[in-house]
């Protein structure tokens, strides 16, 4: 039993560290630390740099153009990225649809889409949720009706994040009505330029445009864009469950960035001549946050060690998602607290500047609220652990 890395992993760590030493522009830092996504152009440029280095898809096997890294190497990569204030890669293509395509898709789909995902030539978004199908996704009503060599799609999708940026969308649609709701659902790949797709922005409380609603009106999709078999789309989501632990783990590793954001803010501000970071009350709260982050990071290390050994880690992916969302909420709130009265200066009225960290710290704190809702809400994660792991 030991925590130290082996010599070969340490060499890899040096290599990654050298890459990140000059990869992160100064103006990314605050946004990244606040847990906010960079602009699409910035993320695309970042992804292209990684792809050029052969590191575009850290979790994919080498045969599909992935890095082919061991779980420990993946951990090292993310840890170094986090330490350098590099962003998390945009995940919807890389982690949500890519692995489904390489596991269940036809050779044609693999050849057409996988390289373009890695090289950020395409931007994928997810068309799953609907107004009546949120946590209860199997209630979805969007229909795909076969018409010759095409499916014709009609329906409405909700919370289609980054649809306004995306070149492609993967959609779950009902192709038949079966007694069991999870059956008769198919997974289709759509070009966003297809006639009949309308995207409308949804305003969110952080005043940042992430998400949309998407309407599908007689959208014609070639039959060849069906992933796997008709009616089995629901099952294909399972491949994501197995990979989920790595994905949530990767995001949680980035929490150390929030600690740096808080520390900088609390070092800048003084009260009665004493830096906030030197005041016992604040130090204690920050220490508590850091300790809980250490606990989560060590849980992730165990997850990685399990994955390395090919051991099932049970519900730990759900646990990490749950704790990560709580901690990102806790951390960004602490950051806002550190800014003090000027946390109220969100946006300038007229020709004046806002305080350092603004508006990002506030947007980060607000955005953090959705982390316990998306990707399976905290309550759904509780249900998953209770049912799958505890068999209650």
């Amino acid at each position: 039993m030991k925590l130290e890395l082996d010599a070969s992993d340490r060499a890899f760590q040096e290599e990654v560290r050298a890459f990140f030493a000059d990869s992160v522009p100064e103006n990314w830092r605050t946004r990244v630390r606040a847990g906010l996504r960079l602009n699409p152009e910035e993320l695309t440029a970042y992804q292209k740099r990684l792809a050029a280095r052969g590191w575009g898809a850290p979790t994919w096997p080498a045969e599909y153009g992935g890095a082919g890294w061991s779980p420990v190497q993946q951990y090292i990569f993310w840890k170094e990225a986090a330490d350098a204030d590099a962003p998390a890669q945009f995940h919807q293509g890389l982690e949500l649809i890519g692995p489904i395509i390489f596991t269940y898709g036809s050779q044609e789909l693999k050849d057409r889409y996988l390289p373009r995902i890695i090289n950020a030539d395409d931007w994928w978004c997810q068309g799953y949720s609907e107004p009546g199908a949120g946590s209860d996704l199997a209630a979805l009503r969007t229909r795909a009706v076969r018409d010759g060599d095409h499916y014709v799609l009609n329906g409405q999708k909700a919370w289609t994040s980054y649809a306004h940026v995306a070149s492609h969308v993967f959609v779950l649609a009902r192709t038949s009505d079966e007694a069991k709701r999870q059956q008769g659902i198919s997974l289709l790949l759509l070009d966003m330029k297809t006639p009949g797709i309308t995207v409308r922005p949804v305003e969110t409380m952080d005043e940042k445009h992430h998400t949309n609603e998407m309407f599908l009106d007689d959208v014609r999709v070639p039959v060849g864009n069906l992933v796997g078999e008709e009616g089995r789309g629901w099952e294909y989501g399972k491949v994501l469950l197995d990979r989920e632990r790595m994905v949530t783990a990767s995001v949680a590793i980035f929490l150390t960035q929030t600690i740096r954001g808080i520390k900088e803010a609390a070092s800048r501000r003084t009260i009665g001549g004493v830096r906030l970071i030197d005041q016992p009350g604040f130090r204690s709260k920050l220490a508590q946050f850091e300790i809980e982050v250490i606990a989560l990071q060590t849980m992730i290390l165990r997850l990685m060690a399990d994955a390395n050994a090919g051991v099932d880690s049970g519900p730990r992916g759900s646990m990490v998602k749950l704790r990560w969302s709580q901690l990102t909420q806790q951390g960004t709130a602490l950051w806002i607290g550190a800014l003090g009265p000027e946390a109220a200066h969100f946006a300038p009225l007229g020709d004046t500047g806002v305080p350092a960290d603004m508006p990002y710290a506030m947007q980060g704190a607000l955005y953090a609220r959705v982390t316990s809702i998306y990707g399976g809400s905290s309550e759904i994660q509780h249900n998953i652990i209770a049912q799958r792991a505890l068999r209650l």
């Binding site: 250490i294 990685m304 519900p315 509780h382 209650l392």
Partner: protein, 370 residues
């Protein structure tokens, strides 16, 4: 990087688990506690026979040379079965204090390993909080020896100890890190009064009053004992991390079983979502505790300063998780959880005491933040 016990370590864990299962069934808990010192002595001789009392003692001192991970393996099982003994104090803390003490320590170490001596450490004073450097108890030199006067307000597991290792001020002011020495005193020393207490978890502690106690034996270097004391206490802390983790995992398993078997409103109470979610939070707390136990214990290679900071971080989270799991286990058991008859409340009481042993949550958080 790996988190697996070696085969030998696993065997140790499993044999301690069997020992707990065979000798410390939950149903005998009250009987055992009622026995008091006799019960502790019986447990002690069984543990001596198994060789565990010499496990943490260095091989060159006649022990088995078990390190932090071996102690962790043993302690998680002892925690799981709530085996009450002064093992951590006498066999982890005391040997670490006696290490490098030469001839003065060698004889005592051998006696500890053989189960013939129980040693406790008087390190805390009423005005010092949990700080090990706040030492006012004075040792003055006289006739080539040391004479001790003062009070140690709490001596963990000190009630049945035959010997006490006492931190004393041999130079400098009350809160200085230099000028602290470690002195060994037999419980029978003239001038020493041992006030004995029973804690709610069955552990037996002491408060020491020393009035001109003569012939105290100097252990280690004069004036330079603090680093040794801090490192020894960190070792004991790691042992408590494992005990707490074993105990809370046990609580979690017992509670899960209860949710499946207890029926109300015509169905198992585990079918109610509000209880399912609470149970999940308990299981997550156990996961966090296990992770922090590993963080505290396996970072020993970082060197004293960073390691002790890691241990403090671990003590904060493990204590919080342990008390939480204990409280929720009582809550989910309802009325019977509150009763003394079930093992559940006994685990909670142990968790509450572990959350204080060698530093409260606030103390360790402050130490981490410093």
């Amino acid at each position: 990087m790996n988190f697996l016990y070696s085969d030998e370590q696993r065997m140790l864990l499993e044999s301690a688990d069997r020992f707990g299962l065979d000798n410390f069934p939950a149903t005998d808990r009250l009987k055992l506690l009622a026995e008091g010192e006799a019960g502790v002595r019986r447990t002690w001789s069984m543990m001596a026979e198994l060789g565990w009392l010499m496990l943490p003692i260095a091989e060159e001192q006649g022990g088995l040379g078990g390190g932090l991970v071996e102690v962790m393996a043993l302690q998680e099982s002892l925690g799981r079965h709530l085996v009450p003994s002064p093992f951590v104090t006498s066999c982890v803390l005391a040997p670490a204090l006696l290490e490098g003490a030469g001839a003065a320590g060698a004889e005592l170490l051998a006696a500890i390993g053989a189960g013939e001596a129980v040693v406790a450490a008087g390190l805390l004073e009423a005005d010092g909080g949990y700080d090990l450097h706040r030492v006012a108890l004075a040792a003055r030199s006289a006739d080539g020896g040391h004479v001790l006067s003062g009070v140690k307000c709490h001596v963990e597991d000190g009630a049945d100890a035959g010997w006490f290792l006492i931190s004393a001020r041999t130079a400098g002011g009350v809160a200085e890190r230099e000028g602290i020495s470690l002195l060994l005193v037999p419980a029978s020393a003239p001038g020493l009064t041992v006030h004995r207490f029973r804690a709610i978890d069955g552990h037996r502690h002491a408060r020491l009053e020393l009035n001109d106690v003569r012939d105290a034996i100097l252990i280690g270097d004069r004036d330079q004992a603090l680093p040794v004391i801090e490192a020894a206490v960190a070792r004991a802390s790691c042992a408590y991390l494992a005990e707490a983790t074993g105990s809370m995992e046990s609580l979690s398993a017992i509670t899960l079983d209860y949710l499946r078997t207890r029926h109300q409103f015509g169905k198992p109470i585990g079918s109610f979502q509000v209880l399912q979610h609470r149970m999940v939070d308990m299981v997550i707390a156990c996961e966090e505790a296990r992770a922090m136990m590993l963080h505290g214990t396996l970072n020993h290679h970082l060197g004293d300063r960073d390691w002790q900071r890691a241990v403090s971080a671990a003590r904060v989270r493990v204590s919080e998780c342990g008390v939480y799991v204990g409280q929720q286990a009582v809550q989910l058991h309802g009325g019977v959880g509150f009763s003394d008859e079930l093992i559940v409340s006994h685990h909670l009481k142990r968790q509450m005491m572990l959350a204080q042993a060698h530093g409260s949550i606030d103390y360790h958080r402050g130490r981490f933040a410093a």
